[in-house]
Point group: C2
Chain length 302, copies 2
């Protein structure tokens, strides 16, 4: 018996501005899955009034799924009627393409541009490119692109700095504007410390995160795990190739030792790409000349 498998895998995690009407979410999910991609997760949030879809598949399937999602969501969602806690500026708010296997970041950037152009033409919708697909450094960060939200969009777009990458220079009346881009997979990675001293967790978070001088692709904060009477360095690793998991772990461990504190354990929240684990094994074992083709399972997939 054979099992179907993808040759190349792109992951896509679109966020739409609807988290309450189940019929709309069902229609969006159906639009995505009819293209052959695998829908991995649907996370609606009622108070944010927002839903995150996670799916993956062949690049051509993923592209078709994004088009189908916009075709379904744009007529169904009117941001003029939308309220919720989460910042947003589009009916389909943000669409990142993520390279998983057999595709490069360059491929995903190309996908973002092509899909962005197609969506703009199809719906007369302004599209901004962000992260790795950004046309300008000022557009890399989603927060900067989205600042002002739907309500401030017409004014923002009037400025020459915020001409969209594709589509008209005015917001779509009901759907606003969408942000499309490419990024590495996120790894949600926490390290628990054998202490209840929150100040230590906070000092370590400050030391290791990019924003305060630490590692380039680490976001971190120190929090209390009250029920266990320990503290945690809670992190997002935004590019595991350039800032690998093992280096983050070793740096946190070293910083903790400075305060006489030991690492109790670490944990992954959600998914991790296989390559991030393989790289950690190879580093710790000091494996020289190791290549992915030495993994037995890969020999069965070439």
């Amino acid at each position: 018996m054979w099992y179907k498998f993808f040759m190349a895998i792109v992951e896509c995690i679109p966020n739409i501005s609807e988290g309450r009407r189940q019929d709309v979410l069902d229609a969006c999910a159906a639009a995505i899955t009819q293209t052959g991609v695998r829908l991995l997760d649907v996370k609606p949030d009622g108070s944010h009034n927002r839903t995150v879809f996670t799916f993956a598949g062949e690049p051509t399937q993923v592209r078709a799924a994004v088009i189908a999602l916009f075709d379904t969501a744009i007529p169904a969602i009117d941001l003029r009627q939308h309220s919720g806690e989460h910042p947003r500026m589009g009916a389909v708010d943000v669409v990142p393409f993520v390279p998983i296997e057999g595709v490069t970041m360059t491929d995903c950037v190309k996908m973002a541009r092509e899909v962005g152009a197609e969506l703009a033409a199809r719906h007369q919708l302004p599209i901004y490119l962000y992260e790795e697909a950004a046309s300008h450094p000022a557009r890399r960060n989603l927060e900067d692109v989205r600042r002002g939200e739907f309500e401030g969009l017409a004014k923002k777009m009037a400025s020459a700095d915020w001409t969209p990458d594709f589509g008209p220079s005015q917001p779509h009346p009901s759907a606003g504007a969408s942000v499309v881009g490419a990024r590495m997979p996120l790894i949600a990675y926490n390290i628990n410390l054998a202490t209840n001293r929150l100040d230590v967790a906070k000092k370590i978070a400050t030391a290791v995160r990019n924003s305060s001088g630490g590692l380039r692709f680490v976001k971190a904060m120190g929090i209390e795990l009250g029920d266990r009477e320990i503290v945690q360095v809670s992190m997002n690793l935004t590019n595991y190739e350039k800032t690998p998991v093992f280096r983050v772990f070793e740096l946190v461990k070293r910083e903790a030792a400075r305060y006489g504190v030991q690492v109790l354990e670490s944990e992954l929240v959600g998914l991790i790409p296989q390559a991030a684990l393989t790289a950690s094994a190879a580093w710790y074992l000091q494996l020289d000349g190791f290549h992915d083709s030495q993994i037995l399972e890969n020999k069965l997939r070439d």
Copy 2:
């Protein structure tokens, strides 16, 4: 586009007593591949007059491939005419089943018993079960089962201790007897030391290997890498679940430190199961509650 993939994977590494006649090897390879398994490697050795086939696939395919291999090899190979340096007692000498993915060792032991019984009936061939499939501790080691070789087989089989597990109590006239069993994948793993002191490599090998008091599933020896003026602890890890790679590496590193020697690097010769690398990453990163289903690629294969 979809790619074909196996649901469960058993690897099989039959050794046949023919390493010179290409037509026989081609016929054996064709018999194996027509069942749908993936033939990963064919290693003929002229001076041993022996060939090792490595293939993998679904359990039912692997079983059919082994039957087809015996059907082809037994009429083609006559041990009465066979000479070569390697010990052997059968036309098809030894057949291990190895669990890779989605199958347990228990499944592979069951396969070995069923296939062994079928081969015995089909060819009036004595079959011994070995390693995890052995019916008695004295039959676990291949070397013990094969001692005396083809030429001593009639005499050996006359003893009550060596009644075969399946088939007649006399050797097959031309094909002798075959050894069928189940074992874990072998990992050929070497650690290079930053020294040219061979005595240190040998002392470490003695410390870590099972035969002289070390770890249960480690075979090791100390050797010189003359061209690089360093030494190596050269190992076979015969059960990476019970004696994991990281524990071997850490023990070698600690023993080396005792002599003031550092580990330069390690290397894998050939293939390693993904699970062995994942377990190493999880151990070093102190990952708590980690489960294989958190590997993104696995979500696409469930």
